[in-house]
């Protein structure tokens, strides 16, 4: 078992799902803002001033608080909030074999991260996220969505000093992520989201991304979801729909719902988790604004296949901004439900 994970009760897999017939299920993409005390603790740990167990304790407390917040807000498909993760690729690289972690690299604006460097064969030797999934699930009676970073994105966002082939590395990573997905399902995960934000930038590699995703999801006993954001979707649509997952959670509000026009050119045939909150803006969208975004999405995708979520992970916002935005998202969704 992953010794970096929290301590939880022995596993008791149970089938937990959204209530049948629930319209416009409310969820999030994965990350929540890290509270100041957690940021300070992480910085203290990095400087060697705080031991690992103390940091884990704070991460557990904040994960539990994040679950309570999601319940209080009225979200219906929860996430663990990723209090224990840094960057979405680097976290996995730190916990898999074959990687080292680079010095700081700019992401955008004033945000920086440490990037994975592939220095050997990538291997899965033990579960990475399972203990955290169990811990989160034990805090709530609601279903919890497990979040993984997809093989194409893990490949594209790492420096490759070993494989020398994008295809070989992506497929090797797919096998690794498949092992993790199976371990999550084994632990009771009913919803598994495999994030592939890098997928939209190289249209000529969409086939590789699809092949890699096949290795992750084929025959997996869970609802499969992928998340994609901030790219040129037009270049890969509708081929995108061939990704072997049942649901796409997509960034839409930062790009003024331009995606919906694209979906009018060729029907969106899968479940859509519509991004109705711009996570790169400090502005708190009003209930009215969010409602209009939901109504716009409903014109393009039938209500039976529409889920509601923010554009992307909320970790770039302050806790106050994230809470206010989500509160309005829940209120807007409830108002729209009244009209259905």
């Amino acid at each position: 078992m992953n010794d970096t994970g929290p301590h939880t009760r022995p596993d008791a897999p149970e089938e937990r799902a959204l209530p049948p017939g629930l319209l416009l299920p409310l969820s999030t993409i994965g990350s929540f803002p890290k509270p100041e005390r957690l940021k300070r603790a992480r910085a203290g740990f990095a400087r060697g001033e705080l031991d690992a167990e103390s940091l884990r304790g704070i991460e557990r407390e904040e994960t539990a608080a994040c679950i309570r917040l999601q319940e209080d807000l009225g979200l219906e498909l929860l996430v663990d909030g990723e209090m224990y993760r840094g960057d979405m690729t680097t976290y996995f690289a730190e916990n898999l074999e074959g990687f080292r972690i680079s010095g700081l690299v700019r992401s955008y604006g004033n945000r920086y991260y440490r990037k994975p460097v592939v220095v050997g064969e990538v291997r899965w030797s033990r579960p990475v996220t399972v203990e955290w999934f169990r811990f989160a699930r034990d805090q709530t009676a609601l279903p919890v969505k497990a979040i993984l970073t997809g093989p194409y994105t893990m490949m594209d966002w790492a420096f490759d000093e070993h494989y020398g082939s994008r295809e070989s590395l992506a497929l090797a990573l797919a096998d690794v992520i498949r092992r993790e997905a199976e371990a999550l399902v084994e632990a009771g995960a009913r919803y598994v989201q495999i994030d592939e934000p890098a997928i939209s930038v190289r249209p000529d590699e969409i086939d590789l991304a699809i092949r890699a995703m096949h290795r992750v999801t084929e025959g997996l006993r869970a609802r499969t979801i992928t998340h994609i954001c901030y790219g040129d979707f037009a270049a890969i649509y509708p081929r995108l729909l061939d990704l072997p997952v049942e649901q796409f959670t997509l960034e839409m509000s930062n790009s003024d719902l331009g995606l919906l026009d694209l979906f009018k050119t060729s029907p969106f045939t899968k479940e859509l988790g519509a991004g109705v909150l711009d996570v790169h803006s400090h502005a708190i969208e009003t209930v009215e604004v969010v409602k209009n975004r939901i109504l716009a999405a409903l014109k393009v995708v039938p209500v039976s296949r529409l889920y509601i979520n923010p554009d992307c992970g909320l970790k770039t916002r302050t806790p106050e901004e994230a809470e206010a935005k989500l509160r309005n998202m829940v209120a807007a969704t409830r108002e729209v439900r009244q009209t259905l």
Partner: protein
Amino acid sequence: MCAAWSRQVLQQAGMTESARIEAPPAAPAGPSETARRGPAARFTARWAARGEARGGLRSKPDPCPAGAAGGASRTRDGCGRDALAQERRGRYSCGSLQGDKLILASLLGNYPRIGDRPPEQALRRALQRADREEVPPSAIAEAEDEMTRLALREQAEAGLDIMTDGQIRWHDPVSHVARGLTGFRIEGLLRYFDTNTYYRQPAAVGPIGRERPVLVEAFRFAAGEAAPRPVKAIVTGPLTLSRLSRDARGRGRHHLTLEVASALNRELKDLEAAGADLIQVDEPAPAWLPADADLLRLAMRRLVAGLTSARVILSITFGDATPLLAELATLPVALVGLDVLAALGRMGAAGATCDGAADLGTRLASVIPPGTGLLLGVIDGRNTRLEEPNATYESRVRPILAALRKGSEPVPEVHLAPNHGLEFLPRDAARAKMTALAALRDRARQEFA
């Protein structure tokens, strides 16, 4: 190119005495976390905070041991003018192109603005503190200055011949320039080509123009700091700016591109007047997206019209630009910049073997007209894997230069560079890449200069 020297030297001197503080451009609307004030505004704040007239050249000790780069020991350049005086102004002088200095090493443009050591995190800290209103906005500009100096110093220490300011002040390659022009509104985030970084997409909402210089102050600062080493100015090209923008007026890409070219033409002239003798126009779009060769030609002609002394590098990276070579050869530019790794990658995919670089060199020799130089992206700026200088020289550099030598004729002016800005790399890897680049340059000079 040398005829305009004295005029420029005088002009530059005049600038330092009668500098005007310009009003900042309107800040972009919207409470976005990444929205920042325009470059001119930040400069105004910086100079005002220091109580200085802007644009002053500071004299400072040479940060680099003698002989590492540059050519300040020459007293007269090939044009019979005082080379030392010119080079003190951070210029790309006639003198620096004599003899073995025809093979030069430089960055492509950007450089890490952060590192793992605390002093390398000054800009991140300043931005965070300014965001929390703990420090005045002028602290950002001061930190940008500091990180620019550090970038210049590291280039000099690595032995590069031509400096860039590392584009430390650039929010991204697109909105940084668009923000300084009129007629653009800056909108949401989009991925920048195939990177894991973003740019804010400009939307063309009105007539595109330029009311005041956008990049000139940053150039002056870097040139003053880098002296005696020359600094090349960098401008995002009109095709890339228009292709990565949203045409909200619906007047078409062609119209927008030429409008941008006209606006940027004024910028290039101002950069020239400020002493930029080498101006690199970054045009990644034609290598990545379907290129309109006619539009590229029209835009480039409009962009460089009226320049009298500055030499222009047209740099086409983020992909293989060799399919456009015939077109590129007809453009009014001094050097054409290519991503050699992308070109060799495509040839390799098409079945070419180790002769790829020689074939590329032969092609370049047959197409590029005499007198046109080449910027060759031969170091991988996207991967931390460090090139072994000997093997890289033999596989990527030597075969191309050998083909370009054309019998007894000398090679044209060649700038060896990474194939991308080094900002995509951690700082330690970026430094190592620059050292490898300088080693390649030294090998090339030994054999071809």
